[in-house]
Symmetry: C2
Subunit: 134 residues, 2 copies
């Protein structure tokens, strides 16, 4: 049976990275591990690791991406939760067999080789859920 291993990260969409970092890094004292451009997502992303998981701050840098439209429509806030799984293909088959609606029918492969896929919020209590296999 494929298994959810942990919450890999919670992604938060922000409109102003400096303002966001003044809270998450400067006020809460969380470590900013990396701040980098993510051209594939047309975003800048800040990674703030915690033991066992991570907070990611995502700021769209264009107006035409899905996440930019999300920000324009709903304002800043939690965007998705990423669940790390041990067998992403097996999990996706299991979800399909249960009638769960997937955004990606097959896992996608990131530039670093990790596999990921998104579950549609309609099937997941209104939550955009990312599956991720290290």
């Amino acid at each position: 049976m494929p298994k959810v291993k942990r919450i890999n990260h919670v992604a938060i969409v922000v409109g102003d990275m400096d303002k966001a970092l003044s809270f998450w890094r400067d006020a809460l004292g969380m470590e900013l591990h990396e701040l980098r451009d993510a051209p594939a997502e047309k975003s800048q992303v800040a990674f703030l690791p915690l033991p066992g998981s991570e907070v990611e701050l995502v700021m769209p840098v264009t107006d035409d991406s899905g996440i930019a439209k999300y920000l324009a429509k709903r304002g800043p806030g939690m965007h998705h939760i990423c669940l790390e799984v041990d067998d992403i293909e097996g999990m996706m088959e299991q979800l399909k067999s249960k009638g769960v609606r997937l955004i990606n029918e097959e896992p996608r492969t990131a530039s670093d080789g990790k596999k990921y896929a998104f579950i549609h919020p309609d099937s997941a209590s209104g939550v955009l859920v990312e599956l991720y296999q290290m």
Copy 2:
């Protein structure tokens, strides 16, 4: 310096607990550790632990609570993220000194003795953040 230790849980507000469990428990295969009434929150809460953190599903059982109004206005979805801290009083002082807006000026104490407080989303990238000390 007070410190964020980990993501204690992510809380998801749902309108239909059975439907929510059919995804989180039955389709994803996450363990349902406990399903119980939370009279103080006028809710039913399902606890689905993962190593290091937890997913909590919260279903309002009346129409007049804050979380019921949130559900009526925004629909189901992520409601708050809970960060476990080692020193909640120290963290709240630090946040106040940085100009962060708190919902609770002092920590509240749950029936089990644990201390918690909420940070206002206006100061936290649109995210309702709970602080929690075990």
